[in-house]
Assembly symmetry: none
DNA sequence: TATGAATGAGATTTCATTCAT
DNA sequence: AATGAATGAAATCTCATTCAT
């Protein structure tokens, strides 16, 4: 009673915090494996070694759990977008960009499972879906900013940024879904950095 | 499927053939709007102005209808992949590539809705899902082939091809989901051609 | 397709009409036995020898079935209220009133089970509950009208009518719940007529 | 239950006793608002500002709390039934009866909410339900006794008593549910007394 | 004496599929 | 070829009750 007593589920205290974490973790796994709609609450609670009743103590429904998960991921991604380095045509610029691409891949490997489901969510035009759009928008905006600052000429910054973000996102998705071997990871990061640099400063 | 029945002119298709077409069209719409799993047979038959019983006259189940749809799309896409022009550093090469990108966008606008749900299908790792992988594999293979033929050096053809296919696919997806205006279509095609060329022949 | 195609359940045609009737009948029994809230859809479909799926083909939920039932009953009762005879102090008036009381008892025996549940419904202040209030209001209004026309003096028509309607309703309820034997039915009708007449024209 | 524990003045009830009272009061409110079956333990403990665990410290289950409530009410009502005055045709008799009707209304206003749910309880034929029957039986018995003592002739005491008790009970219910305004209270008591007197001694 | 997170049986509801017409 | 009412397995969600703290 000393804490916030907001109506509805989502905020039991102390002891329950672990249970909530277990549910989130189990949810991430099940959503990644089967998609939001096909995921069954039953799978999630089994994964979290708890009961149906407990699930609804913490989340109003399946979608709310997914939303909580998506929020976390969105925060992580936006932080990464903010760290996109300045774009320069020299070797130092290439190295910085390559390092950032590796960070992206590392984060994507961690949260990509949730992100894969965003595409599905976008179809039903709900909050979680819009979240996906917002996040890629953050990357695009950051890249537009860096392109403008770089003085690169001859291309529309908005369209170019969108194409490059598309490439980064989807290539890492391919990496995750097994169209490249794990060993190709560093090579992919280098390639993405190189293509990005060429796109701005190439012939 | 046995071809025209009556001998009259104008190839008067049997009634059943039209029903099947209506179901496919309605299915495409519903799958696009809600995803494969969330799509209800009820929505599809309503969209096709027919009945549940009739649905099962033409398809063994929901997945089979999706599969039929996906087959069509896959065929169209593989034909397009085969037409990918040779890559050269000159203006002619750029123009040919740009034209091809426009063809890609046109096809994507038509069949993209079905393709969007491949991602979801991949999660449940069934035939339709593998189909998606196969199709992008065809694009990647075609691009690897053109890269090798172009004599471009300094990059791993497999990885580079994958990155570029990722860009093309996903950028057109963004175009479809409203992150660019329709007017940006030609500009996007030009940008994709330019980035591809730079990637191979740029600095 | 030849009929009304209103959205939502409730209007399958022809063949289904019998099924709907069976569900209504079974619902009346279960509601009467256990109350609206405690009634389980499972009991209703078992009583109607059909399945859960079928139930939801005809009614959106339990409450909607109850509402349909209540509507029927309300119509019957209001028709009876309209037939309340003129009130006169003579033997003819007594006889007419007694006959009407018998009609009331007969109708109550038929629909009383549903009416008993109105009380419960009133608690949750929904449509069905308001229906109960409306119906008794119809009886009260009819009685106020007859009292005014009778020239009876010395009592407030509104309050007196309400007291008498209360008596009629509740006494028949007692009859139904076994506080009188079935044989007391005619005697109760006579007593209610007598008390009503005395109330208006007595000392 | 065991009486005051500490010897201090002002009968400082033990903490637990207050908790029990709070639960009873909250229960009365929730039962009245939603009915016995639909009442949730959660609503009751929130209303009593205590916890689920505590609820089961004082009551074996939901029904036991309702039973405790009903017992209190039944005792109060039976005491009132015993105080029903002798019935005489004169003004003094009318006045005594009118005063008793006012007492009835006052008590009903206090405990009517609990009584309203007796009807629902009767459906599931449990102890609490039988309690309701018993209580109205006490009123009927008292009235039969007074009718016999009054020497009134020409009506069956059992049936007449039942009709009159029905009227008193239900009319006060209508008063409570807003079909009369509060100001009508005294007028209703007077009318009930008058109708009762007319029924016995009228034409 | 009090707490409230956890439980799971049992209820509601959905929807792919069947089948009599 | 077509229909659409019927089915029931499987999913979601609720809530009385328990129990470790």
């Amino acid at each position: 009673m000393g804490g916030a007593t907001s109506g509805g589920p989502g905020t039991p205290r102390r002891r329950g915090e672990q249970t909530r974490e277990r549910l989130l973790a189990a949810g991430a796994g099940v959503f990644a494996a089967r998609g939001v709609h096909a995921a069954r609450v039953d799978d999630i609670v089994k994964g979290a070694r708890t009961s149906h009743g407990t699930f609804y103590l913490y989340f109003r429904n399946k979608e709310e759990l997914f939303h909580a998960l998506a929020q976390q991921v969105a925060g992580d991604l936006e932080a990464l977008a903010a760290r996109l380095p300045a774009l320069t045509p020299d070797a130092a610029g290439r190295a910085a960009l390559g390092a950032w691409m590796q960070d992206f891949a590392a984060l994507y490997a961690e949260v990509g499972a949730v992100m894969r489901v965003w595409t599905e969510s976008e179809m039903v035009a709900n909050d979680a879906g819009r979240l996906g759009t917002t996040v890629w928008g953050a990357f695009t905006a950051a890249l537009v900013d860096r392109i403008r600052a770089s003085g690169a000429s001859g291309l529309d910054p908005g369209v170019a940024a969108l194409a490059i973000v598309a490439m980064i996102e989807r290539a890492n998705y391919y990496l995750l879904t097994g169209q490249l071997t794990e060993a190709d990871g560093p090579r992919l990061a280098a390639t993405l950095a190189r293509v990005t640099q060429s796109a701005l400063f190439g012939a």
